[in-house]
């Protein structure tokens, strides 16, 4: 893609709390990232990795201590307060705990960004009603947040974030407080908004299933750094770092049955083969393997399967099996200490 398509450009970004003091904490260090216009970009990491700080540095809710952030070519890190406020209107944001005004109803919540940017009450209410309609809440305009479910609250928050026609929507753990069914509904709504309005979406999450469901590209953040980034399917097929491996393995981690046999992670994407690979491998090598874990995922509309097997510990048998997989062009990685 050409540089023109970059909507968020992050360069050498760093955030250190209590710089120079004994309590100094480096939340982010030397983060470089390009997010393209119109994509859904995921930033994933375990808690404490720095992902929330990173998203807050994009709209400067937190001031980075190093580096620069550009949005649509404009350096947001160099702006004064007044320009920053204007720039922020083009960057919507939704949060894990919704952060709605609790004392005003859904309609007035959506009116908020419109009123502060100079809309009259009447115009704001008209546009807010359209937005509530857009997120599937047309009947609940008069409801107060306490009367809405978590999913409905997040819909109000999405409508509110869309009110100022943002180019970018930042989602900070936006589905982490929701149950699995609601999570999927909200993710589908976000996908729809991305598709129909062309809003670039940045998803911050600690859950791989969120990334798999809607993101096209992903950055993995660990220990204040971006350790790996790329297309979601590539990262899934061939994770290079421990952080990435940890995130994509079936939830709950993987334990070998006994301490000896090596663990392999096999990935199938449906196009690889339609042969019964494991069965054939066992037959051809004459030794059994244990299946430790297996699951399938939908990534970018394609079905991926992953299978974790423990190889027999006898001399040469693991090597024979790996050679067999190589000959069948099966992608696999060896798992150590995950």
């Amino acid at each position: 893609m050409s540089a023109n398509d970059v909507i968020i450009h992050i360069e050498g970004l760093g955030k250190t709390y209590d710089e120079g003091k004994e309590t100094e904490v480096k939340a982010l260090e030397d983060v470089n990232l390009d997010i393209y216009r119109g994509e859904i970009f995921g930033i994933i990491g375990l808690s404490g990795a720095g992902k929330s700080t990173l998203v807050r540095c994009i709209n400067l809710l937190e001031r980075p201590t190093a580096g620069r952030v550009f949005i649509s070519g404009q350096e947001i890190t160099g702006m004064d307060e007044a320009d920053l406020r204007l720039a922020r209107r083009k960057i919507g944001m939704i949060f894990q705990d919704f952060n709605l005004l609790e004392q005003v109803n859904a309609l007035d919540n959506v009116c908020f960004p419109l009123r502060i940017s100079g809309y009259t009450k009447l115009d704001a209410e008209k546009r807010a009603a359209e937005l509530l309609d857009r997120v599937g809440l047309s009947g609940r305009a008069g409801a107060f947040p306490s009367q809405l479910s978590g999913g409905q609250k997040q819909r109000v928050a999405i409508a509110r974030a869309l009110a100022s026609d943002p180019e970018v929507l930042l989602c900070d753990e936006a589905v982490s407080a929701l149950d699995p069914t609601t999570t999927i509904q909200i993710l589908e709504l976000l996908q729809e908004i991305n598709r129909e309005l062309g809003v670039t979406i940045v998803m911050i999450t600690h859950e791989m299933k969120v990334i798999e469901k809607i993101c096209s590209r992903v950055a993995i953040i660990a220990d204040s750094h971006i350790v790996e980034s790329g297309n979601v399917s590539d990262v899934f097929r061939n994770p290079r770092t421990d952080a990435a491996k940890k995130l994509i393995l079936p939830s709950g981690g993987v334990e070998p049955f006994d301490g000896n046999g090596r663990l392999l992670r096999l990935v199938f994407d449906g196009t690889t083969t339609d042969k019964p690979i494991v069965a054939n491998m066992v037959l051809s090598c004459g030794e059994p393997v244990s299946i430790v874990a297996a699951d399938t995922k939908q990534i970018d509309g394609k079905t991926f399967g992953q299978l974790i097997i423990q190889l027999p510990s006898g001399t040469g048998s693991a090597e024979r099996m790996m050679a067999y997989l190589d000959s069948e062009n099966i992608t696999y990685t060896e798992e150590t200490d995950v």
Binding site: N59, L61, L84, R85, L86, A87, R88, R89, I91, G92, M93, F95, D97, N99, L100, L101, E102, Q103, V104, N105, F112, P113, R115, I116, S117, F144, P145, S146, Q147, A157, R160, A161, S164, L170
Partner: protein
């Protein structure tokens, strides 16, 4: 003792007490509301941190709050004379009442304002709201139930102060208690007035609690 002269006395005292309490509270809020908001937003974690001014106003508020009201009442006499021309009567009493009450109001408003969830304020910032918009459209709106509760308790405090002001010729029910109950030893009158004051406090408290619940939209049984 319950003749028409006595009833007239009580009626006048009651009205004077209401007059002092309401006007002193209003003036205290005119000063205390903005001051309390400032104390909240200028905190280190507030939207407009200003450690210097925060400490300055915080100290003023603390100093005024540490002077017992009876002492303040006497100490304020020169100021009261200067402002009102006299130090006696219910209007004059409003001056020390305000001096004693606005710091209490300020702290109460500060507590209400600071109880607004940070996330909601952050959301407003992410939408490009100015600090003034955050104060008027987020903090003041979200804090309404808590502000009402605080107002009821401030009003009760002012009512108590206004009774105390009776010691220095302050007028109102407090004066009647001092003059009749203390100097003349007419305990009957005193008990009647105590009952009236207790009822007033109860009414304010109850009304405050109900208004606060009624105003609070952040509850499931509110339709």
């Amino acid at each position: 003792m319950f003749d028409s002269k006595f009833l007239g006395l009580i009626a006048t005292g009651f009205l004077e007490t209401v007059y002092m309490t309401v006007s002193a509270s209003l003036i205290s809020y005119i000063i205390g509301l903005p001051l309390g908001l400032f104390l909240s937003v200028s905190r280190p974690e507030g939207i407009a941190p200003n450690p210097g001014l925060n400490r300055f106003f915080g100290t003023v508020v603390n100093l005024l709050r540490s002077v017992p009201f009876v002492i303040l009442l006497v100490a304020a006499i020169p100021l009261t004379r200067f402002v009102m021309g006299t130090s006696i009567g219910s209007s004059a009493t409003i001056v020390p009442l305000v001096i004693a009450s606005f710091p209490i109001v300020a702290r109460s408003v500060e507590a209400s304002a600071s109880s607004v969830r940070h996330g909601v304020i952050e959301a407003a910032q992410s939408m490009g709201a100015t600090n003034m918009q955050i104060i008027t459209r987020v903090i003041l709106r979200e804090a309404v139930p808590s502000l009402i509760t605080g107002a009821a308790s401030s009003l009760i405090t002012v009512l108590g102060f206004s009774a105390m002001a009776g010691v220095c010729g302050g007028g109102g029910l407090g004066s009647i208690v001092i003059n009749y109950g203390y100097y003349r030893g007419e305990t009957g009158i005193m008990y009647v007035l105590i009952v009236i004051l207790v009822i007033m406090v109860q009414i304010i408290q109850e009304a405050g609690a109900r208004l606060s619940v009624k105003a609070d939209r952040n509850t499931k049984n509110n339709n």
